[in-house]
């Protein structure tokens, strides 16, 4: 009885030997520790944001009431909005609210929660689209390139990825617009809403996803290709596989690619947080109704709760991304999963 409950607590739907092993293994403890370590980071980031915003000249109330408002009206509004309190007090209030699930209200009066609820999914879908496509393409291209290092495909992939690494997403976005939207008319120039059908979603988000995904594709391809080639040239188990008579494609995919996936997943996770900048700009250019646009508007209006909410979301993404990377290692790498040798 107690054993079943224990497994249920630990394993959930995967309540089998694997769940027991993972729960007892260093893996879960690692995850736990990382989660704990993440909290100061989140607090640190949001706190710093607060500090910075408070340190800068602050005319939110002015912005709301307009330039002709009397100083006393501005002061009154400041007081109502609680903007005249010292920043640590405001931060504390904000933090307490957050822990209750309330992210505050924007200067426009709407709740931050609802703003995020409407716009965050859009951004997440766009990001997911970019990530998935760029990953898949990167794997295919890297494998083809690594098959013949310095061959045609390899050189081509290196050139293309060099451009991808060096191209500014905003500049590339315009190139995409000019070629695909204007000249070829395959996609709409601006998106507005995403539409309700999968097709309209794709039409609206493909160009922005390409703009975000191209640098990602470049980074992943380079990394994966380098890792694959390094393995194929340096690692002894590759020689063993070849000595067995295994055909080259199989060696590349069954042996090298399998091991490279670790590095790749780690990088994907680590890079997650750096995407915020690109996302904000791309969303603006293509007028995708995501939180990137919200962020830019919020900054213009000095809308602290909104900015804090978005910063929190992205900091969370960074932290979760790192966590995911570590977790992947812990769960997938058999050396960690099954502990040390037991002869």
């Amino acid at each position: 009885m107690a054993l079943v409950q224990q497994i249920q607590l630990q394993g959930g739907s995967g309540a089998r030997g694997s769940a027991r092993r993972i729960a007892g293994s260093p893996a879960l403890r690692l995850v736990g520790r990382r989660l704990l370590a993440a909290i100061p980071v989140l607090i640190g980031v949001t706190f710093l944001t607060f500090v910075v915003m408070s340190a800068l000249p602050n005319n939110t109330a002015q912005a709301i009431l307009g330039l002709n408002a009397s100083p006393s009206a501005v002061a009154a509004l400041n007081h109502t909005l609680g903007l005249d309190q010292p920043f640590w007090q405001r931060y504390w209030h904000w933090l307490v609210n957050v822990l209750h699930g309330n992210l505050g209200t924007t200067v426009n009066g709407s709740s931050v929660n609802s703003e995020l609820a409407t716009h965050l999914p859009v951004t997440l879908e766009l990001l997911a689209y970019s990530l998935v496509v760029s990953l898949l393409l990167a794997i295919i291209v890297a494998v083809l390139a690594a098959r013949r290092p310095n061959g045609v495909v390899d050189r081509l992939s290196l050139t293309v990825s060099m451009i991808g690494l060096s191209a500014a997403p905003y500049a590339f976005a315009f190139l995409l617009i000019v070629v695909f939207a204007v000249k070829l008319n395959w996609f709409p120039v601006i998106s507005g809403s995403l539409g309700s059908t999968p097709l309209s979603f794709l039409k609206a988000t493909t160009l922005p996803a390409c703009a975000i995904g191209f640098p990602l594709f470049a980074v992943y391809t380079r990394l994966l290709r380098a890792d694959l080639v390094e393995q194929m040239q340096r690692e002894d188990y590759i020689v063993t596989a070849k000595a067995k008579g295994v055909p080259p494609w199989q060696v590349l995919i069954r042996h090298a690619l399998r091991n490279s996936m670790f590095t790749l997943i780690t990088v994907v996770g680590l890079n997650l947080g750096t995407l915020i900048g690109a996302v904000a700009i791309i969303e603006t250019i293509f007028t995708v109704p995501g939180i990137g646009q919200d962020l830019l508007n919020g900054i213009q209006n000095h809308d602290v709760p909104l900015i804090e909410g978005i910063v929190l979301v992205f900091a969370l993404m960074t932290v979760l991304g790192n966590l995911l990377a570590d977790l992947m290692y812990a769960v997938l790498d058999p050396r960690i999963r099954y502990g040390s040798s037991n002869s």
Binding site: A243, G245, P247
Partner: protein
Amino acid sequence: MSEALLEVADLRVAFATAGREVRAVDGVSFSVRPGVTLAIIGESGSGKTVSCRAIMGLLPEGTIISGSARLRGRELLGLSDSELRRHRGSEMAMVFQDPARSLNPTMRVGVQIAEAIRTHRKVSKREAQAQSIELLRLVRIPAAERRFHEYPHQLSGGMRQRVMIAIALACRPRLLIADEATTALDVTTQAQIMELMLELQQELDMALIMISHDLGLAASYADEVIVMYAGKVVEQAPAGRLFGAGGAVRMRYTRALLDAIPHLERPAHTLLPVVSGRPPDPSALPPGCSFAPRCQYAADDCRTKAPVLAEHAPGHSWACWHPCENGGTA
């Protein structure tokens, strides 16, 4: 006298790295018969590993190989990789030095053995699994069914090497090449693995080539010995002729190697006669004998004319202008 299984003639291997040409192997010839153990001895960089990898076709693309290597009369050099693959792993197999790195750490041990089988035979996964477990038993690994599912890091060094041997023997090869197969193991395990390989050699009537820098190993286990230096064969003889009582080492290098082995009978606190200096840079080989810069007995002709490997005594060849007299230092 059975037919030679492997005949290598005038094998040469060169690479181009960072703009320089490196001659790793410079005219090597030997042959092996089934049931015979050949030891190839040499320092690191002597070309012993490169020669065998050239035969197996495991050198990187862009390597220049010339000469001939015939396996059962079939010429191997010059075959396309897909043709060579049919022989690799099935008729000739190799065991490598470091079993910790030679096994894929993220793949189960049994699957790696099964891969060797399924590459050459059309068998189902289950059948391959059964055969792999049999192979694990063949190499004397206890609890074979359990070990099948384990990962390399869960096994000890000696067991990993046994797994490597199991992989090599998966398709009953005629030729087994052991490239420093015991170097990374401790002494007791070394002996066990060598014994195992010799037993299996008898059982399967294989030819065994053991590559090593350890003369002691060669003396204990080999039937024939080849000594390599700077890409060339410098001495070749049956093991009995070289080692032990009445050993007749001729080439100065081999003599120096033997002298450098510490013996219990040596008087204490005497200098060990090590061979000073280093092997020559294979991209800048000196003219004449490659060993001349390090040889005490080098004379002018040694430095200008490269000695040729020739059979000066029955079954015993060497390449030296001023060889030792009858095994002693002279």
